[in-house]
Symmetry: C2
């Protein structure tokens, strides 16, 4: 029994990700009250495009840890909102390259500020070294399971 740390009450909240759900909800509310007409999931796609645009849907799948149908539909909705554009690759006609629009470029600064603000609220009172440990553990969990 190498790491059997889980009494039942703790097991539940670890699996359901209560903390990350709470963070996402808080951020969504900030988006709404700031008039950003954007879901967290859409934001998470833009997030990666702000780092690098012109990547394929498959690369977005890998970056956002989603499957292909999920990305197809997120890109569908982002295109309807005029926030991204699909551009067929010239080298490989199977591939769509996803580009930002002028409109979504404008959203970056405000939405990222709200995200940072949310995390600061979430981690208020938590000392930096504990945050480090927590991030490290969550990364190991992800690596162990992916």
């Amino acid at each position: 029994m190498p790491n059997n740390q889980f009494k039942k009450g703790e097991l539940y909240s670890f699996i359901t990700g209560k903390a990350s759900t709470a963070i996402a909800r808080r951020l969504q509310k900030k988006f709404n009250t700031s008039g950003l007409n954007l879901t967290i999931e859409q934001w998470s796609v833009l997030y990666h495009l702000w780092k690098q645009e012109g990547i394929s849907q498959q690369e977005l799948c890998n970056a956002t840890f989603r499957d292909k149908p999920s990305i197809t539909r997120l890109v569908d909705n982002l295109e309807k909102l005029n926030l991204v554009k699909r551009v067929p690759s010239e080298n490989d006609r199977r591939i769509n390259l996803i580009y930002l629009t002028r409109q979504s470029q404008k959203l970056q600064e405000e939405s990222m500020a709200l995200a940072e603000q949310t995390l600061n609220e979430a981690l208020e009172t938590v000392p930096a070294e504990k945050i480090e440990v927590c991030k490290e553990v969550l990364q190991v969990v992800y690596d162990n399971l992916k």
Copy 2:
């Protein structure tokens, strides 16, 4: 800037809960390959009913951190699967008390074993004291935001 610990790459995975998503997916796969015809969300409702049955839908909302429509529909689906039963309260006719069926009582042991197994896989190689810190941080995050 009290706790501004987040460089951009880290911000993303904290918000999206990559780790808990990975855990939930792994557990879902274990359910599927074990022939447990059950979603993680349905399991999370049963989980609380195994601790105490005969509670109201509102109490399930609080326990599972979901809103009322979500619980209505989860209970709908659990009822279709013959895993729970709605029983109108005699004291307060607004309230449904939710009870387990014989069928769902049988699922407890196997599904809980799979959940523990999943967490052990997730946390393999993580020392116990780091797990403790991580759980503590996640609890504080939840309390800060709820």
